[in-house]
Amino acid sequence: MVRFLVKRLLSAALTLFAVSVFSFLMFFALPRDPVTGMCPKNCNPERLERVRQELGLRDPLITQYAGYMKGIVTGRDLGSAQGGRCDAPCLGWSYVTNEAVSDTIARVLPVTLSIVIPAAILWLLLGVGLGMVSALRRGTWLDRLAIGFSLTGASLQLYFVGAVLLLVFVYNLRLLPVPSYTSLFDNPVKWASGLVLAWVALAFLYSAIYARLSRAQMLETLSEDFVRTARAKGLTKPKVYGRHALRAAITPVVTIAGLDVGGALGGTVITETTFGIQGLGRTAVDAVRAGDLPTIMATVLIAAVFVVLANVLVDLLYAAIDPRVRLR
């Protein structure tokens, strides 16, 4: 178990290292001059040159990369033009927003978390529940309804569903305020009412995929020998389905869920754009529009960290859920 964990974490670290090198090369070393986007409107050659010096763009690439990485681990001194001392998770200084990138991230990350975590809970419960019920009631009207729901949901687009939800609940019925983010700790009611449409839209589309997947998995598991054995030795149906079949059927669902949740935490770009909520995803879009390289780099790295961590977590969950899996 410990050996597996160490091995898994090492490979995750290696992946993250490769992602960081790749994105660093892509953004800082591509022939496009990274400075053009960082310089305010009235730019003259001297000022450009000064920005280049401040950013250390004249140094060799390895030095630049090492400096960036050192900044994340221990913090570093960026020079007076970039806000001076930059503390431990230092992700650089944005010339566009004129603040440390880590401050921007600290502001928008809670927004994305508030969108994704409740939505993920909703879509997992709804999707897996629906899939299980329709597998156990195979061929009934309930099953057909669930199949229709999942086929429709899997073909719908978030921006369209979001637009329709906005149109109905905000503009026509006026039941909900225009979506916005309020901190959960300031005002929980406002927090929920501002984000509920985003949760519903995400949950609707994702749960369609999960319903389909978990129905197929459950059907396959139900035809396996160990389920029949469990029934034959006299266990009740709820025990067989809930404790034996569910645990075996749910593992592939957990894999996909890990990837999805990890990916969504890295920025729900479409959701945030549709509902006009400023989270990690919108920040990335804005940074791309403004050519704000330090911010783009930071958002890519954070998104990758979430995906990789989610994968590690999924591997560990496997062993906890499915008794047939032994970690080595």
Partner: protein, 335 residues
């Protein structure tokens, strides 16, 4: 389906494992797996309806110049006279009329129908091109990794993991303008063909992983089978092994994954255009139209529905057809 010697192998495989395979007596018609799948597909009503819808969409996309000539309106023409003082189209439901079937865009007054027809063509072209390229890359890397194994397998696997860890949307978002700036200046207009090329390249860069995984798994399952061993013993080269022995046996899952990849690229293209990378407003596209329509949700709600419902119908038809294809190609399928 022609009965090449290779397919004969596949047929023998199925007959030896399939239960109830009738002995070949006189009067029985031998059918290849391809023919069987085709017959099953023909009998499936959902498959036929969705195939009809797809054929309609593809026909419309192919006939764009003809439709434009008959319809008499171009995608960039503006009809400002048919808008009111606030830039809202006159008339009901976004200005639907005999001349403008789906109404006009608020603000610029461009015809929605002809823009959607053009958008459909762009969308289908990008999706098919990306699906073909990713399938090709995935097949080559997947068969190589699965058949040769060893360090090559380890390397390809690691690259696959790495690609999956990259946040696709954000990297695509960051990469497309960077690439465009590499070739064109800050203020130069980027031609539509270049934007489309970049989109396809980005999809190819990130999309091959699922096909590669699928093919690798299938090849590993086949690698130790007798017919592969027999071919190897007869001195078959690597190319012959991969393309004449292994590939013909796994074309069914590849075809299914291809048919499900096309709609996913349609939605990805729309999503990228929606967040403002990929195609610019000059090139008509569904994603761009929906993005613009969000500003007019309150004042002109009809605008969002035309592109929204069309893209839903398109993806829905593809998904239905892909599922039906999977059922038809699965020898274990009961239908």
């Amino acid at each position: 389906m022609s009965l090449s010697p290779v397919e004969g192998v596949a047929l023998a495989e199925i007959e030896s494992t399939g239960d109830g395979a009738a002995p070949k007596a006189k009067g029985f018609v031998g059918r290849s797996p391809g023919q069987l799948a085709w017959a099953r597909l023909r009998r499936d009503r959902t498959a036929m309806v969705s195939a009809g819808m797809l054929a309609f969409f593809v026909l419309v996309a192919l006939a764009v110049p003809l439709i434009q000539a008959l319809y008499g309106v171009g995608p960039r023409e503006q009809f400002q006279t048919r808008l009111d003082g606030f830039g809202m189209p006159l008339g009901y439901a976004g200005g639907i009329s005999g001349e403008h079937w789906f109404g006009l865009e608020p603000g610029l007054g461009r015809d929605i129908f002809i823009r959607m027809v053009h958008g459909l063509r762009t969308s289908l072209f990008i999706a098919f091109a990306a699906a073909v390229i990713t399938a090709a890359i995935g097949i080559v890397l997947g068969t190589l990794a699965g058949y040769l194994g060893g360090w090559l397998d380890a390397v390809i696997n690691w690259i696959t993991d790495l690609t999956l860890a990259m946040p696709f949307l954000i990297i695509a978002l960051a990469l497309t303008p960077t690439v465009a700036l590499r070739f064109y200046g800050q203020r130069e207009a980027v031609p539509a063909a270049f934007q489309i090329g970049v989109l396809i390249a980005v999809f190819a860069l990130f999309g091959w992983t699922s096909t590669a995984r699928l093919v690798r798994g299938q090849v590993i399952a086949l690698r130790e089978r007798e017919f592969v061993e027999a071919a190897r013993a007869s001195g078959a080269g690597l190319g012959h092994m991969l393309f004449r022995q292994l590939l013909p046996n796994i074309w069914a899952p590849i075809l299914v994954s291809f048919s499900l990849a096309v709609p996913s690229y349609i939605t990805s293209e729309a999503a990228l255009s929606f967040i403002g990378v990929g195609l610019t407003d000059e090139t008509p596209s569904f994603g761009r139209m929906i993005y613009r329509s969000l500003d007019y949700l309150q004042t002109d709600p009809a605008y969002v529905f035309f592109p929204g419902i069309t893209i839903f119908a398109l993806v829905f038809a593809f998904n239905l057809f892909g599922d039906a294809l999977r059922d038809a190609l699965d020898p274990k399928s009961s239908r």
